[in-house]
C-alpha cells in the first residue's frame, strides 16, 4: 500500500517536473518561464523527500526556490522583456537544436533503464548526520574552497554591475562612432 502510494506521488512529481520544464523552454513570456522554473524546483524538492534526502530538499527550497528564483526575477525586472513573435520564436536553428538534444538523450535514457533491480533505500533517521559528518570531515577543504568561491562570485558580481561614475547616464546606448570615454 505504501509502495503504491509512493509510486503515485512519484508519478505526480514526474509529470509536474517534466511539464513545467517544458514550459520553461516553450513559454514565450520570460516571467512565466521564471515562475515555472520555481515550480520545477519545488517539485524537485518533493523528489528529494521521496528519496529520503530531507536536508537536500530543505536546501533546495531555500537556495533554488528562494534565492535563485528571486535573482532571476530581478534579472527579468532589470532588462526589458519584449515577447518575441511566434514567427521569430521558432527559427532555423530550432529543429537542429531539438534533433541534437534528442540524439544525445537517446543513449542516456537507454543507460538509465539498464539499472533494472537497483532499489533506492532511504537511510533510517534522515540524512543530516551522515551529510554533516561527510562535509566537515572528508570534505572540509572543498567546503572552504566553496566559501572562497562564493566570496569571489559576490565581489565579481558587484564589480560587474558597478557604474563607473554616478554621473554616467543609465543604460545609454553607446554608438559605435563615439570615442570611448
Amino acid at each position: 500500500m505504501l509502495d503504491f502510494l509512493g509510486l503515485v506521488v512519484f508519478a505526480i512529481f514526474t509529470i509536474m517536473i517534466v511539464g513545467a520544464g517544458l514550459g520553461v523552454v516553450l513559454a514565450n513570456r520570460v516571467t512565466t518561464s521564471a515562475l515555472l522554473m520555481a515550480f520545477t524546483f519545488l517539485n524537485m524538492a518533493g523528489m528529494f523527500v521521496l528519496l529520503g534526502a530531507e536536508t537536500i530538499a530543505a536546501f533546495q527550497v531555500l537556495i533554488y526556490v528562494g534565492a535563485i528564483t528571486v535573482l532571476i526575477l530581478y534579472g527579468v525586472m532589470f532588462t526589458p522583456q519584449t515577447p518575441r513573435a511566434y514567427g521569430l520564436f521558432f527559427q532555423k536553428q530550432t529543429p537542429w537544436g531539438a534533433v541534437l538534444a534528442a540524439l544525445a538523450a537517446l543513449p542516456v535514457i537507454v543507460v538509465a533503464f539498464s539499472f533494472h533491480d537497483a532499489k533506492t533505500v532511504a537511510p533510517p533517521g534522515g540524512d543530516l548526520n551522515a551529510l554533516a559528518i561527510a562535509v566537515f570531515n572528508s570534505f572540509a577543504f572543498p567546503f572552504e574552497v566553496a566559501s572562497v568561491l562564493l566570496l569571489a562570485a559576490m565581489v565579481g558580481a558587484i564589480v560587474l554591475v558597478k557604474r563607473e561614475s554616478p554621473a554616467a547616464p543609465p543604460a545609454a546606448p553607446l554608438r559605435r562612432s563615439e570615442p570611448p570615454r
Partner: protein
C-alpha cells in the same frame, strides 16, 4: 522505488535544459535552462547516493557543492547579462555579436 525511474526523470529534465539552451535566444531564459540542467544532475547524484547505500552520503555532499556553484553561477551570469545590457540595450543573444570577427 527503482533507481531507473529517478535517472530517467533526471535525464529528461537535463535534456529539456539542453534544448532550452540550444533553442532559446533570450539570455535570461538560457540561464534558467542551465539551472534546470544543474538541478537534474542533483537528482541523479542523490539517486545514485541511495543506490550505493550508506557510503557516507557522498552523492549528497556533491549536491551541496553544486548548490554553491549554481548560486555563484547565477549571480555572475546575471551580472554579465546586466553589464552587456548596459553596453547595448538588448538581451537577445543573436544581437550580442560585438566579438564577431
Amino acid at each position: 522505488m527503482p533507481l531507473a525511474a529517478f535517472i530517467a526523470v533526471s535525464a529528461a529534465l537535463f535534456f529539456i535544459g539542453v534544448a532550452g539552451v540550444l533553442v532559446r535566444r533570450n539570455a535570461v531564459v538560457i540561464l534558467m535552462s542551465v539551472e534546470l540542467m544543474l538541478n537534474a544532475t542533483n537528482l541523479a547524484f542523490v539517486a545514485f547516493s541511495r543506490r550505493l547505500g550508506v557510503a557516507g552520503e557522498r552523492g549528497s555532499v556533491f549536491v551541496v557543492f553544486i548548490f554553491v556553484v549554481a548560486a555563484a553561477e547565477v549571480a555572475v551570469g546575471l551580472a554579465i547579462i546586466l553589464a552587456a545590457y548596459r553596453n547595448r540595450p538588448t538581451v537577445d543573444v543573436d544581437q550580442l555579436d560585438e566579438m564577431k570577427g
